[in-house]
């Protein structure tokens, strides 16, 4: 991987120049939270944002979109022929790990046309981060990335160390090579190494996830699950904001009069009662507690069996967003019999 330096004062000018490639998106403050938005005013970019409420998946499988149109005479028309290119700046390592997970789900076994189409036109500029009290990526080894981005920025106080992660990234960089410094000295490298050591030690939330699949398995019948089940609002928030939740539902909107019909795809959640209802009326997870168990089993156990690593990337969104404080940190602590605040 090749590296360059970019002085901080050039950042905004550089990002603006990338509009020649497509839309430039990044985290922007919205009240107390951050949201990935298309940037028009670069002074609004929040370089300290940690977890935009909706993660990268909103670009790749939008919450709601049309897949195709159809007419009464039996003709179909693809509703997603192309997507405007988006360059997303400010993406942190854990989110890129989530992105790689989505890639496995949607690109490998059953390549999903809609995912692929969005994915192709979503370019990623990673940005280093300093964790807060809700980040626990280090516990999942997702606090660092070596792939999955086009350009990777590491904040070294007065400049960024910029890694090129793909040929697209190379294009992006060469576009304004005049702003970059090609000379990386050993001093820069040392600074980078020092920074990494320092930063990796900034995690305040550390979860010991050793043997988590076994713990999940063995605690399946614990009474404490029922308490968690009673607390869950079944509001589905966790599935919407989790970067690795990908379930969707489909609805056909029939056309009225001469309008074509359209098929719509929208995010779904296994926390909803109807999710596991099948024809004939049987519901595999009628009870709230069973749905909560499934969610956490999926994040911390089943995914490991299937893909060799947990589905959770430690981004802390569930910690920040669940209104009744059910989240991965809480659940692992509970299952391990540790003290938790009620």
């Amino acid at each position: 991987m090749k590296a360059y330096k970019l002085k901080k004062e050039y950042l905004k000018e550089y990002l603006k120049s990338l509009e020649d490639f497509g839309e430039v998106w990044g985290p922007i403050k919205k009240g107390e939270i951050d949201v990935y938005e298309k940037i028009t005013d670069y002074s609004l970019l929040n370089l300290n944002a940690l977890r935009p409420i909706l993660p990268l998946k909103k670009f790749l499988i939008p919450p709601k979109f049309n897949t195709f149109f159809y007419t009464k005479d039996g003709k179909y028309e693809n509703a997603l022929k192309e997507v405007k290119r988006k360059i997303v700046f400010g993406v942190h390592p854990c989110e890129i790990h989530a992105l790689l997970t989505l890639d496995r789900l949607y690109k490998e076994r059953y390549p999903d046309y809609y995912y692929l189409t969005h994915r192709k036109s979503t370019w990623i500029i990673a940005l280093s981060c300093v964790p807060d009290d809700k980040c626990f990526a280090r516990s999942l080894n997702t606090h660092f990335v070596e792939e999955g981005f086009d350009l990777g920025f590491t904040d070294l106080e007065d400049y960024y160390l910029v890694w090129v992660g793909s040929s697209e990234g190379d294009d992006l960089l060469r576009h304004r090579l005049d702003l970059f410094d090609e000379k990386i000295t050993s001093k820069d490298l040392n600074r980078y190494i020092e920074w990494r050591k320092w930063r990796d030690n900034q995690y305040q939330l550390n979860l010991d996830l050793t043997a988590m699949p076994d713990i999940m398995e063995l605690s399946y019948d614990l009474e404490i699950w029922n308490e968690i089940g009673e607390r869950c609002l079944s509001c589905g928030t966790c599935s919407m904001i989790c970067p690795t939740c990908t379930c969707f539902n489909i609805a056909d909107h029939l056309g009225i009069d001469d309008e074509p019909g359209r098929r719509e795809r929208f995010w779904d959640s296994c926390m909803l009662k109807i999710f596991a209802l099948v024809a004939g009326g049987h519901n595999f997870r009628e009870k709230r507690v069973d749905r909560v168990k499934l969610w956490y089993t999926h994040k911390l156990k089943a995914f490991i069996t299937e893909f060799g690593k947990p589905a959770c990337v430690g981004c802390g969104r569930c910690i920040a967003n669940c209104p009744v404080n059910i989240n991965v940190a809480e659940i692992t602590k509970i299952l391990k019999g540790e003290e938790v605040k009620k």
Binding site: G31, L54, R231, L233, S234, T237
Partner: protein, 260 residues
Amino acid sequence: MDKEKKLKIGFYEFSGCAGDLLTIIHNEDYLLKVWNSAEIISFRLATSKRDEKANLDIAFVEGSITAEEQIEELRKIREKSRILIALGTCASFGGLQSMYSHLGDFSSRFNSIYPHKFTILKPIESKPLESYVKVDYFIPGCPIDFKLFLFNFTRLLRNLPVELPSYPVCIECKWQENNCLLLKKIPCLGPLTRAGCQARCPTHNLPCVGCFGPYEDLNLPSWLKTLQENNIPFKELEKKIRMFFGVKVKEILSKLKNKK
């Protein structure tokens, strides 16, 4: 569709603000399409032309029943309609006008507000259509959401059942990328309320008031607990639920009592 095959549809209103039917009328881009795709037998807000004798395939009925005379009228509509649909929250659950129905005898409540003799209609406690006739489907909302109406209108035209969002407002709220108000202990009814509104209120930083009626899998005890723990009294929370959940409140609260 050829003319003979068009379904015969009627729109009716009882006690309410007419907001649901107005929602249909105000979507001018679609009004003609709605008209073209069915044979509209009655729609008083839109046309004086109507046929009270014709049998109907579908009757959309807005408003709650608040007078004795309306019961008879509703029964007549039911008799002549193959499918009857409660349109809006009043028709579905009783509406705002049934908010205080738990506070003792109706006539004393009524007389305290209208002390003079009332001669036009014989007023009774506000109740949803279902209290008097069989209702095939509900399309709640105060007012209804036009997109949700259209989605179901087109389904009905093709003899498909009505389908409502089977998730609470929170789902749509997250799609709108809002910070949850419950995190700030603001009593938002989002997790208790059926979606369909695009989470309008939370998106404007206002708590959901539940105007689409209860979500079938709501978890009231947990919602109450998290707010009561932050010193919001039960009475205040109960009042919020009563605003739009109408006759459903009794059922929801009784589950709460059973649990205790």
